[in-house]
């Protein structure tokens, strides 16, 4: 596993914690509602990129300043943190679930910060009839998150999870369908890759269409035999696919020459 470094930067009235590993082009990462879980996929990215994972305000080592009352507010604080960590350079940006929603807002409000954008099971559009995450018993939540539970990280401490749900409720105001973001997806300038697992138990994978339709240069990929946590269910495929997109952009649709057997 690549050596990790950590630090904190100040962004407005928040302290934003970051965790980094690897060398190469900068890849910012925003975790899902369960907080940062650094696993096989992030290790894989760290072999090709300098991965900088930021804790969203209110999660992990980041504080939740009074000015942060919404996802766009959180995106502003994170953009300020990215600017400091990257010394003003653009970064690739990848977000998972709640982090995907935040990353999409960040790309809307701070296009100059983002090179290429990757949204893993982004949680901006949950159908109105979908029950809230907090309503699922822990075992069921786990089944909806992970198609392959043997590869999943251990279950959270219930107290931590409870606190995470509270932060999420404050930032999202309990709104599962972000119509403001829906109206502004067209402003995203970054080429964007959206991924959904075919077995996603939290968000119907077909929601990927909304991003594909509205973001000017978007690619939608279904990952087979993956549920909501794609990077835990299919870590190697996820890393290969996303890295290829980050490295080649639109040209990633063209099959790469394979080394032929001698």
């Amino acid at each position: 596993m690549p050596q990790q470094e950590e630090g904190r930067v100040t962004a407005g009235d928040c302290a934003i914690a970051w965790h980094a590993a690897g060398d190469g082009p900068l890849l910012a990462y925003l975790h899902g509602a369960g907080g940062l879980r650094w696993g096989r996929a992030l290790d894989g990215f760290a072999e090709r990129f300098r991965v900088v994972a930021f804790d969203i305000p209110g999660f992990g080592g980041s504080t939740l300043g009074d000015s942060v009352q919404s996802i766009p507010d959180a995106a502003d604080a994170l953009a300020a943190a990215m600017e400091q960590v990257a010394h003003g350079e653009r970064m690739h940006l990848m977000g998972t679930s709640l982090g995907g929603r935040t990353a999409a807002w960040l790309a809307v409000r701070h296009p100059q910060r983002v090179d290429r954008l990757v949204l893993e099971s982004p949680a901006a559009f949950r159908p109105p009839d979908a029950p809230p995450l907090s309503s699922f018993p822990p075992d069921e939540l786990r089944r909806r998150l992970y198609g392959n539970p043997e590869q999943a990280p251990p279950t959270d401490d219930p107290a931590v999870r409870q606190q995470q749900f509270q932060v999420m409720a404050r930032l999202t105001k309990g709104v599962g369908w972000d119509s403001e973001l829906e109206a502004r997806l067209g402003e995203i300038e970054a080429p964007t890759l959206v991924l959904f697992g075919t077995q996603d138990g939290l968000i119907p994978p077909e929601m990927g269409r909304i991003y594909k339709e509205r973001i000017p240069q978007a690619f939608l990929t279904y990952v087979y035999q993956a549920a909501h946590a794609i990077q835990w269910d299919r870590p190697d495929a996820f890393v290969d696919l996303v890295s290829d997109f980050l490295e080649r952009g639109e040209a990633f649709v063209v099959p790469r020459a394979k080394a032929t057997a001698g």
Partner: protein, 374 residues
């Protein structure tokens, strides 16, 4: 209401003795096959005129018993020769083909036919895996994944990428897409209890086509119905198909004589080489997921081998006799199995084309009117 499908294997019945496997194509006679393709397509088009509900094609490789290495080609011809009848592809052998290609060909057939396609997606009998160089041990996994991909290709309005275990496409956006919405009805094989349960999980129609006995078919169909119920849906009879060799003649004896000879040639000469290849695959790979499934198949095959035409008539697994007899046989199979579609096969082995057409006409005139409303 019982529906009838007219299924054709398109045999090449000109070999005098059982060939070795693989059957060398020096034994293929293109001139005779040219005439046969024409006659066979005529027979299939005639089925519409005679009141059949479906006309069926399927895919086989390297064999004189069936000349449809790509059934979509015959399906395309049928879209131009028929107006009403359902065109049943039973089907493309999905794990052997590019799933995107299958999705495209089926969408073409559905649009060309005005929405008449029944989309059979089939794993294929074991020997086909040798022909296309695909690992039979991967057949189930490939099959399951390819089905999901085909359905996604038909129904996803936006271009999408597919990151599968066996199939990877960075962008898929097929033209045309199917006419039937959300997609053409699916039909899977129910030759084993495993595949029957799978068909129910995918809400596909089910076909059991190599009947060893009605009990064997019933076991699979019951698993299908039971699985569907557990998932909260009740399959209509029109979801259940069984396949039966069929011959109707003026008398029972005449029918038995003609079909008996045709079947004998079919089993002894036309399909013996394939049987050999099947054994190679079954014993040399994990084509079956479980040892139990493999054993069951081996036992059933062995049992089938020893059945005479009289046994098959007795078992009720073929339709053979005078119109009255065949009506009773149909009544029996509908009653015992609760199925809604009977797939008939009239051109069995070496039965001459005139006799095939005669038997079809007799079936249409003197059998169909009595069994429609069973």
């Amino acid at each position: 209401m019982v529906q009838f499908s007219y299924f054709h294997l398109m045999p090449h019945p000109y070999l005098e003795q059982a060939p070795d496997w693989p059957v060398p194509h020096k034994l293929f006679d293109p001139e005779r096959a040219h005439a046969d393709y024409e006659q066979y397509v005529d027979q299939m088009a005639l089925a519409e005129e005679l009141g059949f509900d479906w006309v069926g094609c399927n895919e086989h490789h390297y064999t004189p018993y069936g000349l449809m290495s790509n059934p979509a080609l015959i399906g395309a011809a049928l879209t131009q020769r028929t107006r009403r009848i359902r065109i049943a592809m039973l089907g493309a052998l999905l794990p052997l083909n590019n799933p995107v290609r299958v999705a495209e060909e089926y969408a073409m057939l559905d649009v060309m036919s005005g929405g008449r396609l029944i989309a059979g997606l089939i794993r294929g009998i074991p020997n086909e895996y040798i022909a296309y160089g695909v690992d039979p041990s991967e057949s189930w996994e490939r099959f399951e994944e390819a089905i999901d991909l085909v359905i996604r290709a038909w129904t996803e309005p936006e271009p999408f990428g597919w990151e599968g275990k066996h199939y990877q496409f960075r962008t898929v956006s097929i033209w045309p897409r199917p006419l039937q919405q959300p997609h053409p009805p699916l039909l899977f094989s129910g030759g084993s209890v495993e595949s029957a349960a799978f068909a129910a999980r995918k809400r596909a129609k089910i076909g059991v086509v190599q009947l060893i006995s009605l009990e064997h078919a019933k076991e699979n169909l019951d698993v299908y119905r039971q699985t569907a119920r557990e998932l909260g849906w009740e399959p209509p009879a029109s979801n259940l198909l069984i396949g039966m060799h069929t011959h109707v003649a003026r008398t029972d004896a005449e029918a038995r004589e003609t079909l008996g000879r045709g079947e004998d040639y079919f089993y002894r000469v036309l399909s013996s080489a394939t049987q050999h290849a099947n054994e190679l695959v079954v014993h040399g790979s994990n084509y079956y997921r479980t040892a139990e499934a493999r054993e069951r198949r081996i036992t059933r095959r062995a049992a089938h081998k020893h059945l005479s035409i009289d046994d098959r008539i007795e078992q009720g697994t073929i339709l053979c006799g005078s119109p009255d007899t065949v009506v009773r046989q149909i009544e029996r199979v509908v009653k015992e199995l609760g199925i809604g579609v009977i797939q008939t096969g009239f051109k069995i082995g070496s039965i001459p084309n005139e006799k095939v057409v005669e038997s079809m006409r007799l079936f249409s005139r003197e059998v169909l009117p009595h069994v429609r409303d069973l």
